[in-house]
């Protein structure tokens, strides 16, 4: 649709700029706030321009301690979050790509039923099954451990479903050609299937990484030792301090740090991500 009406153009731009401002303003406030001296938020006004404590604040939070209630530097929280998010992402992709492979390419009894059972677990996210899952993890002595953080979250019906759709679009002739070329199931998987679903894996990686990174409830429940705290859940604990004496400048630094890795992943994998979700060329 090509139209040339200046007023319409201006109006559309106004809407877009307005939208960008609404989204960008809180980020701006966080960025500015992270450079303010302690207590500058307590006056009741929100600072809109940089203060002079930037380097000091960032260094303190990153390497000394995150706040008065968290005696642990943020780099450690960042590392915990990263381990958990990557663990969940890689685990989810590995498990779901293998199960999708089984469901699409192998004939075994109750194949359809198994797929639907997997599909139905979509209705059981962690939040729904949190009490029994906690019980299981507690009985397995996995509270306060990385495996406890990761394992309950790595089964994914969504990813299985997505890979299933992707595999089903691979032409049957290709599978047959591979059979004639002497590629067994394992070879076919590694030589043909994995390279061909490269973009889908990238798309899944982006989605699942953000999902894992943003986990809040589960880490909050199973970690009591702050060496296993994740970044996202720590922000909340930085806000619940006695007397409401919140160190906003430190909170803002932590918030920004929590935003960076997902942004980096999205920006870095954007091309593959879009290709994986949109591209039908097989």
């Amino acid at each position: 649709m090509i139209e040339n009406r200046p007023w319409l153009k201006m109006f559309s731009h106004f809407i877009l700029v307005f939208g960008v401002l609404i989204i960008a303003l809180p980020v701006w406030v966080a960025l500015v706030g992270s450079t303010q001296p302690e207590g500058s938020f307590n006056s009741g006004s929100v600072p809109l321009w940089f203060g002079d404590h930037g380097v000091q604040n960032w260094a303190h939070v990153l390497f000394a301690e995150a706040g008065s209630t968290l005696q642990i530097p943020v780099w450690h929280l960042l590392l915990n979050s990263l381990i958990m998010a990557l663990g969940i992402t890689i685990g989810k992709i590995a498990i779901s790509i293998i199960s999708a492979y089984a469901i699409v390419f192998f004939r075994f009894p109750f194949r359809g039923a198994i797929f639907w059972v997997i599909f139905m677990t979509l209705m059981l996210p962690v939040e729904v099954r949190i009490v029994p899952t906690y019980q299981v993890i507690a009985n397995l002595n996995m509270l306060n451990s990385y495996s406890g953080l990761i394992l309950p979250l790595i089964a994914s019906a969504t990813a299985t479903f997505l890979f299933r759709q992707c595999f089903m679009s691979i032409p049957g002739e290709l599978v047959e050609a591979a059979r004639i070329d002497g590629a067994g199931p394992i070879r076919f998987f590694f030589d043909i299937l994995l390279p061909m679903s490269r973009t889908n894996i990238a798309a899944m990686f982006v989605i699942m990484f953000i999902y894992g990174w943003n986990q809040y409830l589960w880490p909050l429940i199973i970690t009591t030792d702050d060496t296993y705290y994740t970044l996202v859940m720590s922000i909340k604990s930085m806000l619940s301090v006695p007397d409401g004496d919140i160190q906003w400048n430190y909170v803002m630094v932590t918030t920004l740090l929590a935003m960076l890795p997902p942004v980096a992943v999205v920006v870095g994998m954007q091309k593959l991500f879009v290709k994986g979700l949109v591209d039908a060329e097989k």
Partner: protein
């Protein structure tokens, strides 16, 4: 020496549908066999059974004397070219061609030598480092053939390999496939629904209809002596004119008006046929019958005339004739025709078999 033997081969699907009741076929070394038939006749199923992609539920399949019914496709020493080429999209042309050899543990130098040889033969040298997505349809077709050839298999299987190409390229590739096959002298089984392709490529043709082999023979045998009305109609374009007729003492009675003298022991209902190219124009005195012209297709070198054979029953029957050179009869006018007796085909009206 026989290369490929199909002994009483049949296929029944688990749901009870019988795709192929029973086929017997003995293929000599280096022969080019074309399986031809309309869609759904079981020709692809049969090919896939030979390849090992479909199970064989009955009979024996022998390659070089070994029964291979239960062998994996990779262990049958066959290579297949698919309709959609089925090239691995993420691999280069070289990797595509090498893949089968690599899986069989052929050492790298030998693989490369073979790929280079075949690429030379097919004119693919320049394209070895490209991916299938960067190739044209004809080039992909060549790569698919190259992939089959590097393996140096005992049997080539082609599943309608030319149907995705445009008309000009199809003719070119057809000639090329034939030349290559002659040169390599590899036994070949080729599936197509295109009878021109079938006639030009085959040493022997197998005409399939509903899973049954209607006739097996050289292209000219099938053209000159079709065993059934199905083969008669399928081979040749435009297809043979077939008419219901009666065989009596006087000869063949096409209708009250049209009688063709002939002596034959058979009596009763028959189907009489003649190919469009065997009908000749004549004057009224010598003519066997007359045709009312309905449509004229001028193709330059030849002219196809569609008309109605007036037989007095009030239900004129359509007939096609094919004349060399340009002709321009008026629509609605009558043409006088002779049907030379040596070109007649007679079939039993009930069994549809040649008499």
């Amino acid at each position: 020496m026989t290369d490929l033997v199909l002994k009483n081969i049949g296929k029944t699907y688990p749901n009870g549908y019988q795709a192929i009741p029973s086929i017997d076929l003995v293929i000599e070394e280096g022969e080019f066999i074309v399986l031809v038939g309309p869609s759904g006749c079981g020709k692809s199923t049969l090919l896939r059974m030979v390849a090992g992609l479909e199970t064989i539920t009955q009979g024996d399949l022998l390659i070089k004397g070994n029964r291979v019914n239960d062998k994996e496709p990779a262990d049958r020493d066959i290579a297949m070219v698919f309709q959609n080429y089925a090239l691995y999209p993420h691999m280069t042309v070289r990797a595509n061609m090498e893949y089968g050899l690599k899986n069989r543990g052929v050492p790298k130098e030998e693989r490369q030598a073979k790929v280079t040889d075949v690429a030379n033969m097919l004119g693919l040298d320049e394209l070895l480092d490209r991916r299938p997505g960067q190739l044209s349809g004809g080039q992909r077709q060549r790569v698919a053939m190259g992939r089959a050839m590097v393996r140096d298999p005992k049997v080539f299987l082609f599943d309608e390999p030319l149907s995705n190409l445009d008309a000009k390229l199809r003719v070119q590739m057809r000639v090329e496939i034939r030349q290559l096959q002659r040169k390599l002298a590899t036994t070949t089984l080729y599936v197509t629904h295109d009878q021109v392709e079938a006639m030009t490529l085959a040493d022997r043709l197998v005409v399939l209809n509903k899973g049954k082999a209607e006739q097996i023979g050289t292209p000219m045998e099938l053209y000159d002596k079709p065993a059934t009305t199905f083969v008669a109609e399928f081979i040749g374009s435009p297809s043979m004119n077939l008419f219901d007729a009666m065989m009596t003492e006087e000869g063949i009675v096409l209708s009250d008006k049209t009688r063709l003298p002939m002596s034959h022991a058979h009596r009763g209902s028959v189907i009489w046929g003649i190919r469009p190219e065997h009908l000749q124009q004549s004057d009224e005195a010598n003519a066997d019958f007359s045709l009312q012209v309905q449509a004229v297709e001028s193709l330059g070198a030849e002219t196809l005339i569609h008309g109605l054979l007036e037989d007095g029953s009030g239900q004129p029957k359509p007939m096609v004739i094919r004349l060399a050179g340009p002709h321009l009869p008026e629509i609605g006018s009558y043409m006088w025709l002779i049907a030379p007796a040596k070109h007649w085909h007679l079939f039993d009206a009930v069994t549809q078999q040649r008499l």
